[in-house]
């Protein structure tokens, strides 16, 4: 069935490692996306069963704050994509700066999000202790619960992404990543970042634009 081939080195060749890492990341991202898939299913289900109530509840959300946040996140994604490109070109400084810019934009997103939460809290629309005064109807409370879980889970992912970017930028500064040979160390976190962006792109209409 087999015979010994010319002996390759014990360490797998770089190309193989590159492919394996990217492919593994792709599968991981698919898996992460399905994590949110469960939440999308819940939203679609209630949209079908209680369409009217869901639309009414959705209208209470701050549509334009969400839009602003989408812009922020898209911009950060652009920065992340540029970081990956400049990493391939071997520009350590630029990569580092772009990563930090993307992370900063992510932080801006979180700040805006927090502001939005506090607005909703003030309106009595947030189903947390002391904050849900206006949520008389069970279904609007339910919708806001789903909103809170979905955006909260997204915010957790974004925080992880910010952490990854800051850490990666630190490693560039620390010279433990050298470009362009270690470009995968940049590409992998940016892929994760784009996924978090894509999740938001679906969450935004699913939560804010139910009309």
């Amino acid at each position: 069935m087999s015979r010994a081939a010319a002996s390759p080195p014990l360490v797998p060749p770089a190309k193989q490692e590159h492919d394996a890492t990217l492919f593994g990341m792709g599968i991981f991202l698919a898996s992460e996306f399905l994590l949110f898939g469960g939440l999308f299913t819940i939203l679609v289900f209630y949209r079908i069963v209680h369409g009217h109530e869901v639309v009414e509840a959705s209208k209470e959300l701050h549509l334009w704050i969400g839009a602003l946040n989408t812009v922020v996140l898209l911009t950060s994604s652009l920065a992340a994509a540029l970081a990956a490109k400049s990493a391939k070109d071997g520009d350590q400084r630029l990569t580092q700066r772009l990563l930090l810019a993307a992370a900063a934009l992510g932080a801006v997103f979180l700040v805006i999000k927090a502001g939005e939460y506090s607005l909703e809290y003030g309106d009595g629309m947030l189903p947390v202790p002391g904050g849900g005064g206006q949520l008389v109807e069970p279904l609007s409370r339910l919708f806001m619960n789903i909103y809170l879980v979905a955006t909260g889970l997204h915010a957790v992912h974004l925080t992880i992404g910010i952490g990854l970017f800051v850490f990666t930028a630190f490693r560039i500064w620390h010279r433990s990543i050298r470009l362009p040979q270690d470009q995968l160390s940049i590409v992998v976190p940016t892929l994760y970042w784009h996924l978090v962006d894509i999740v938001w792109i679906f969450l935004y209409p699913a939560l804010y634009l139910q009309r």
Partner: protein, 87 residues
């Protein structure tokens, strides 16, 4: 900046799509509203995946993995809608 020239149009297209979906949400589309917003979201996701993540350049296996994730999500959504739609 390397790549900015290539990526800027994509970014502008993404913002345009965002404006589209926002505008569409004010139109009286009725039952078509979710269809439009989902289609726009899919287009945006495709732009990000294709240009920002460079999936169009990477291997077929990676594309397959990402496609499988989206496809399975679609299956979950469609098949679990069968029950509430016909209840």
């Amino acid at each position: 900046m390397p790549g900015l020239r290539a990526l800027l149009p994509v970014y502008v297209a993404l913002l345009a799509l965002l404006a589209t979906t926002l505008g569409a949400s004010y139109l009286p589309l009725g039952g078509w509203s979710p269809v439009v917003s989902t289609a726009v979201a899919l287009a945006k996701a495709a732009l990000i995946a294709g240009f920002f993540m460079e999936l169009r350049l990477e291997g077929a296996a990676l594309r397959l993995a990402v496609f499988a994730g989206l496809f399975m999500c679609a299956i979950l959504l469609v098949m679990s809608s069968v029950d509430p739609l016909t209840r």
